[in-house]
Amino acid sequence: MTGALLELDSVSKTFTRGGLFSRTQVEAVIDVSFRLEAAKPEIFSIIGESGSGKSTLARIILALQTPTRGVARFKGRDLATLRDGADRHAFMAAVQPVFQNPFEAFNPLKRLDRYLYATCQRFAGAKTETAMQEGADKALRQVGLSLAEVKGRYPHELSGGQLQRVAIARALASGPSLLIADEPVSMVDASLRASIVNLFRKLRDELGLSIIYITHDLATAYSISDRIIIMQKGQVVESGDARTILADPKHPYSRTLKESVLEPLAPGERPLFAR
């Protein structure tokens, strides 16, 4: 197990839906295995349409759900054995999430800086008010903001891009080694998308952070990922080096996905839905 930051070993998750009589089983994740090395920080993308089990996988990695079968280990520790308390606390300091919708990531009735202070206090050992403010400012500077811009503000006072940066800064404040970003750019426009994706690249290169980037946007996945897996109905249908796979997908589903991506036209190309 030495050297693995995160290791998934034939992880499956089955949900049972319905009441006593009409039970249906949903196999959300089936036999997924992969491994991230501690020594080699990378951006690992999980791609698939909605319902393909990406978020379920993310929740398993965040130890919010336990797999039905298989084992997920973080630094050698089986996540299913985490109990509430000190263990989980230490785990949460090391693995942090970034969510899909920046407008939903913070309580609309509360000030944003609270979350940064709380993270610094609980995970980074900041004891005093000043230490919390310094920690928050440091984290915000890593994403191109500063505490002065965020202090005392409510979520509705910031733009979506700024909020997503604050969300990333909050995750960084605990000093994690793994970031799980579940569709972090699906709600923002192209320009913001570019800046957030660039930020991920910078975090990987400068802080040595590993990032699991979940998306259905193949174009950004192509531009930042080192490795990808493509999921369909809970199963991994293709995995490996991002450039190789996206340049020339082998599996029919991966091809359909790639063909469905609407990119700006090359000169002479005809629009798909022309009149």
Partner: protein, 288 residues
Amino acid sequence: MFVVLRDLLRYNGEFLAGILMTGVVVAMALLSFVSPYPPLDQFVAPMDVPPSAAHWFGTTSRGQDLFWLLTYSIRNTLAFGLLVAILSRILSLSIGLLAGYRGGWVDRVLMSINDTFIVIPLFPILVLFYFVMRDNMSWVMLAVLTALLGWSYDARLIRSVALSLRHREFTQTAVFSGMRTHEILSREHLPFVLPIVFSTSLNNMNWSIGLEVTLAVLGFTDINRPSVGGMIYWANQHSAVVAGVWWWIAFPVGLVVMLFIGLYLLAISMNEYIDPRSRLERGGGRKE
């Protein structure tokens, strides 16, 4: 908050009427502090005087001035309603929020307790308690009992809101910011249910006051402590209606009905404010 109040006052007739009616009742209760008569004194005024300039609401067959007696009664009745509302709010908030947030077995256990309380027939229980406790039955104890029996509907309502809050992303953000359960409940989720709590506590007050009045009219409470129900009880004991002392019944009944309607109007106007769908309609927009 102030803007909300101002807008409600300006645009919502029910809210204005509710405020006025409850305001009159509360003002009555406050007057008790300047009453010329101590509440328990009897035969300090002439008996059975109809409403007049000297005695606005008339006097009782026990020689009490009805107006000033009523100020004490309504104060006690309001205090009872408030105490029940506060106690049952504490119960329903903590149980509803916790059940909704934790889900799983915590939710199942709490909700089965909740459902037990919903089906308990509360009136017989209260009467039974009265017969067991007899003279030891103070109004505070009655309030605690009523609160114990009156939190369950609202807990369910609060739970359903908490259940939806649990799945919102900001709850996860709070968890991964290292906040503990009680912090998440009190700082993150409580603000969302407060408007509901306001409106349901008004309804809850109505319910508990109605219960207390009924018990008192039947003589199942401490009859020496003035209360609106107690006044009606004594009026009946003296056959007030037959004797033509109608005011002894009419004023207490009128006042408590006014309180009921006032609280009810406040509750529904609050509801309208809370429910975004009805707010949109009121905002002049049409339904698509």
